[in-house]
Structures are given as C-alpha cells and as structure tokens.
C-alpha cells in the first residue's frame, strides 16, 4: 500500500504537532516544545472514500513553524499529496499567514487538496462566516475548527483531506 505524504504547516505554536499527535497517538500535552526542522509520523487509518471504507497509510510531515513560508518549508513540501494549514483562533491576525502558506502550496503543489485547521476552538470562537467563505472561494479548501486538546474534529480533518487526496478531487470543492 502506497503511503501518502501530507505536510502540516503554520506559524509557531499554533498547534501543528498537537494536532498530529492527537490524530496519530490520541494524546495531548500542554507543554510547548518547538519543532526544529521536521518530525515525521506514520499513521494507518480507515477512511470512507466514494462510499467504501479503504485502508490508507499516511506519512505526516510536521514542519517547524514559521510566520512566512521559507525555503525550508518549500523544500519539505515537495512531493506532498496534500497539506494542512494550521491557524490559531486566539490570534487576531491569524488569517493572513494562513493565506500566505496556502499561496505557497498552490504555487509549489498545484492541484493538491488543502485543509485549513482553525485550532484551539475549545477556548476561542470560530472565525467570521465571511472569512470562511473567502477562503473557500479562493482555495476550494476544507475548513475545520479543531481542538487538539479535546480532539474535536481532528480525525475528521485528516480523513476528509485523505478522502480528497485519494478521491482525486484536487483542490476544488
């Protein structure tokens, strides 16, 4: 079974590692440890694709946080089948860094599905509908409010993105 590479990118401390650890290991720690370089996680899951459940294998690349996508992030993103852009709902200016990261993915990985994860939904409300609609229109992306702490919507985010990767729907909704 071929493994699919999924990159997880976003600013420092938005919860990229926490989201992956919640999905892969079903654990959460509130101790912040910055990721240096890249961490790799492997996870097998069963995902409903076109009405049938399929066994899939994902290699998740947890790339170190940066406010702007740099050379390192671009290098690590090569060959990815899909990407998750993570933002922190508690930060007022979270949308712009997410847009830039998504622009980088569109430029380097055209046609790959993108998922926007608005994290820390357990302590902050969802973004405005206008922002969500704008992101959907612009990138045709999955948009999910997640909480790595409670696990809310985390598996669905990864499964929906995987379904898009395998279903071949690309970035279009």
């Amino acid at each position: 079974m071929k493994a699919h590479k999924v990159i997880v990118i976003g600013d420092f401390g938005v919860g990229k590692t926490s989201l992956i650890r919640r999905y892969v290991l079903d654990v959460f720690s509130d101790q912040y440890r910055a990721t240096l370089g890249v961490h790799l996680y492997k996870h097998s899951d069963i995902v409903p694709i076109d009405g049938t459940e399929q066994q899939v294998k994902l290699v998740l690349w947890d790339i170190e946080g940066a406010p702007l996508p740099g050379e390192q992030m671009m290098r690590y993103s090569l060959g990815a089948s899909g990407a998750i852009v993570v933002g922190d709902l508690t930060r007022p200016d979270m949308i712009e860094p997410m847009r830039r990261a998504a622009d980088m993915i569109e430029a380097r990985l055209p046609g790959r599905p993108i998922g926007f994860a608005f994290n820390k939904h357990d302590i902050a409300p969802a973004p405005d509908d206008s922002n969500i609609a704008a992101l959907k229109d612009r990138y045709g992306a999955l948009i999910t409010c997640t909480s790595a702490k409670t696990g809310d919507a985390v598996p669905n985010l990864f499964r929906d993105l995987t379904a898009r990767i395998i279903g071949g729907k690309g970035g279009a909704v």
Binding site: A3, K5, L40, K57, V59, W61, L78, G79, S81
Partner: protein, 530 residues
C-alpha cells in the same frame, strides 16, 4: 159515597182548560213557524251539500287520476324497504351466529378458567402446607438465633474488656512514641538509641536471609551507582583517568593477543579460505580471517521518491528478517528530508548529495537520481567494493523500474551474494576471471556458509539477550552476551540477584535447539555479599 158536583169549580176548570188550549195553539203556531224556518234552512243546507258533494266528486276524480303515479312510487319504496329489511335480517342473522360463536368461546374460556382456578386452589393448598412446615422450621431457627445472640453478647462483652486493655496499651505506646519523638529532635540521642538496634537487625537479616536482603537492596545500589556515575561524570573521569590509561593499555594488549590467538587458532580450511580471498582481492589474509566474525550484510534496501520521501519499494534480507528494524516509511521520509537538506545546503548539482551515514549500529549507503533515492541499510565490515556495488544495485533497480515497474526491483539477497557484480555487468570484479571462476565458486560457497553461521550466531545472541530483557527482575543487573571466536561458546556473563533468577534464566534459554555451546559465567549478588 159520591161527592156532589160543584158547578163553579167545573166552570173554573173549563176556563183553565180553554186558556191552556189557547196557549197550546199559540205555542203550536210558534213551533210551526220554527219548523218551517228550519225546513227552509235544511233545504238550503241540502243544496249546499249537494254542491259540495259535486265539488268533492270532481276532486275525488282528480285525485283518483294522480293516485296511480303515487301508487307506483309507493310500490318502489315498498320494494326498497323490503330489500333493506332482508339485508338487515341477514346481518342480524350473522350477528346472531357470531354471538353464538362468542358465547361458545366464552363458555370454553370459562371452563378453562375454572380448571386453572382449580389448579391454583390445589397449589394454594400445597403452599399452605409448605408454609406450615416452614413456620415450624422458623421457630427452630429463631431459637438458634436467640442462642447465637446470647453468645455474641457474651463475646461483645469480652471484646469490650479487650478494647479497654488495648486502650491502655495504646496509651502506653503513645507515651513511648512521644518519648521517641522528643528523642528524634536530638540526633545524637536518636543515633545512640537506634544504631545498635539497626546494626543488629541488619546483621541478623544478612545472616538469616541473605537472598532476600540481596533482592531488596541490590537494585537500589545498582540504580544509585548508575545515577551517581551519570551525575558525577566529570569527577569520575578525573578520578579514574590514571587508572583508565592502564586499563586501555591492558585492553589493547588483550585485543592484540586475541587477534594473534584467532589467527593462530584458525582452522586450516579457514586459513586456506582467507589466503584465497587475500589472493583474489589483494587484501591481507589476516584481515579476511578477522572479517569473518563481522560479515557485511545488506539488511534492507529502499527505493524512495526523492522529493516526497514516499517509499516506492523495499526489501529486507532473509538474514535480517527476524530482527527488529526501524519503520521503513518513516526512514524513507527521514532519508529524503536529510538528502533534501544536504542538497539545499550544498546545491542541487549532486555534489551535495549524502552518500553514507551511520544509523544506530548500521551504515546507510545512499545513491540518487534526480527523482529517486536508493538507500541500503548495512551492518558489518564493508568490503572495499561496496560503493561500486551500491552503484550497480541502483542501476539494476532503475532498469527494473523503467521496465514494467512491478515485482521485485531490488533483490538485495542477490546483492548479498558475492557474484552480484556480474549481475550488474558494470564492475570489473576479479571474481569472474577465467580459471579462478571455479575456485571463486567454492570460496563463495564457503563464504556463504560462514555468513550463514555468523547470522545464526547473531540470531542466537539476540535470542539470549531477549530472554534476559523479558525477565523483569534482571532489568537493573549487568548482563552481557558475546562470542569470542568461531571456536568459542556463546558466553553469558554478569550479575543476577539470586539462584532463583539464575535458574529462571537457564530455563528461558533453549539449550537443546542451539547449534552453539552456551556457557554461563554469572555471579549471584547473594554470593557476592558473603
């Protein structure tokens, strides 16, 4: 006698008669008039009746004419009523039949209820009889309970007395504790009190149950020593530095001695093989003799998509298939990330590509094309031609990938064979040279045997190490497994807590299945204590 006639009277009577007659005549005339008027009225009435009669007659005739239609309507209505009545009658009959059936069913139900009631009655009688017997038994139980209660009451009184005694004892103990507590604040006094007691208790315990003492304190001592070594690394180095030089000198001397002994003790056939290998490869024969103990094996080959790090194909050596290995998908990602980092840092011309790095005890050889990476995870001492062989395997893998893209693209067990150079067809191996072909085949056979023997040895050493690791009580104790040379047994040496742990370890080792001699050189902590 007849009374004489009175003429006056007679006259008077006649007069009255005459008057009366006149009245009658007058009255008769009135009546006549009345009659006449009545007759006239009757005649008028008769005429009126006649006219009325004629009118009625004509009305009746008219009515008789319209009577026919009404009669037909009435007849139809009568027929409809008759039909309705007949339907109602039929329904009524059916209803009656149903009522009869219902009545029959109710009757049978009543019969069954009656039977059930009779059965219940019988059951009630039986239960009554049982209750009567139980009541008798209850009376006995009650009596028993009564006697039990009396016994318990007596016991409770005894317990109360005991509690009073215990309270007294507690009071005395509390006083003692208070004294000890006071003493605890005076360390000198406390030491004076407890030192003799502790010394005596430890001595007794050491004499009476040395094994138990060893079990209890040995793990703590070992843990403490390990922690102290870690915490005082610098001091330790300084402290042992003078001694370390001597130890290193001794170790080097021993290694040289081992080397000499190994060369001296090698079987004639081993020497002959080493000499042949030396002749063929140009490497010293002694080097081949030593290398046999650490044969080069390609444990795993991975073909990786360069950019994404996705594993395209992988293969593990049959010689390594029983050992634990790192997750190949994660390793593929890591290798791609490392290679990407190196290329990024030193340029994408290929000059910056990693060609080899160490991973745990293994060495990973890397070769890349612009789109693919070949990674070989190897162990053992690498022969001089390994780099060329890696290039050849990448070439073979690429050729196979460019073909149908299916099936085995790597074939590392072919690679592990000494004649892989021929398969690649690119390297100038000396093995294929003319007359030496037959000799090389024999060497390859013996070499292969040697490799298999070494693989067996590694597997058995791993099995024994696993048996040690699976035993929880051996966790903190220093134990090692090794084999000095091909003629030596596998040696298990170190320290275990007691004889029982040693026995458990012996039981875990499957002696009879081992193709090698296994020797235990293990000390017991309990023995060491003595």
């Amino acid at each position: 006698m007849r009374q004489p006639i009175n003429p006056n009277f007679e006259r008077m009577r006649l007069e009255a008669e005459r008057q009366r007659l006149a009245e009658l005549e007058e009255r008769s005339g009135t009546l006549r008039e009345m009659l006449e008027s009545q007759v006239e009225a009757a005649r008028k009435s008769n005429d009126a009746l006649k006219a009325e009669n004629a009118a009625l007659k004509s009305a009746l005739e008219a009515q008789a004419n319209s009577g026919g239609a009404k009669a037909a309507e009435l007849e139809a209505r009568c027929e409809a009523l008759a039909a309705e009545l007949s339907e109602r009658l039929a329904a009524e009959r059916q209803h009656q039949a149903e009522l009869k059936a219902l009545s029959a069913s109710l009757r049978s139900q009543a019969e069954s209820e009656r039977t059930t009631a009779a059965a219940f009655e019988a059951r009630c009688e039986a239960l009554n009889a049982e209750l009567a017997v139980q009541a008798e038994n209850d009376a006995e139980a009650h009596a028993k309970l009564e006697s039990l209660r009396n016994a318990l009451t007596a016991e409770a009184e005894g317990a109360q007395n005991k509690a009073a005694l215990l309270e007294l004892e507690i009071k005395q103990l509390t006083d003692r504790i208070t004294e000890v507590d006071i003493a605890a604040y005076e360390p000198e006094r406390l030491r004076t009190i407890i030192t003799p007691a502790l010394t005596s208790a430890l001595r007794e315990a050491g004499q009476e149950s040395p094994d138990e003492m060893a079990n209890v304190i040995a793990p703590h001592i070992l843990k403490t020593v390990k922690t102290e070594i870690l915490n005082s690394e610098q001091e330790l180095v300084e402290a042992i530095h003078p001694r370390l030089g001597v130890l290193i000198k001794m170790a080097v001397t021993k290694a040289v001695e081992d080397l000499n002994r190994k060369v001296d003790n090698a079987l004639p056939v081993d020497r002959w093989i080493a000499a042949a290998k030396g002749r063929i490869t140009g490497a010293p024969a002694a080097g081949w003799l030593l290398e046999d103990g650490n044969t080069f094996i390609v444990k795993e080959a991975m073909l990786i998509e360069r950019q994404s790090g996705v594993l395209l194909a992988s293969e593990r050596s049959e010689m390594d298939v029983n050992n634990a290995s790192p997750d190949e998908d994660l390793m593929a990602g890591m290798i791609a990330a490392l290679q990407g980092f190196a290329s990024e840092a030193y340029g994408a011309t290929g000059a910056g590509d990693l060609r080899r790095f160490s991973f745990t005890e293994d060495t990973v050889y890397l070769r890349g094309t612009p789109t693919k990476l070949l990674a070989l995870r190897c162990s053992g001492v690498a022969p001089p031609e390994v780099e060329a062989r890696v290039d050849e395997l990448l070439e073979i893998a690429m050729e196979r990938m460019n073909g149908d893209g299916h099936g085995d693209v790597l074939m590392i067990d072919d690679f592990n064979k000494p004649d892989v150079a021929e398969t690649g067809g690119a390297s100038g191996s000396k093995i294929v040279a003319g007359v030496l072909g037959a000799v090389a085949a024999v060497i390859a056979l013996i070499w292969g045997h040697s490799a298999v023997t070494n693989a067996h040895e590694s597997r058995w050493i791993s099995k024994i190490e696993q048996a040690i690791a699976e035993d929880d009580q051996l966790g903190p104790y220093p134990l090692s497994v090794s084999r000095e040379d091909n003629d030596s047994p596998i040696l298990v040496s170190g320290l275990v807590p007691n004889a029982a742990a040693l026995k458990a370890l012996e039981d875990r080792i499957n002696w009879s299945a081992s193709p090698f001699d296994i020797e235990l050189n293990i000390a017991l902590v309990s023995e060491v204590n003595r």
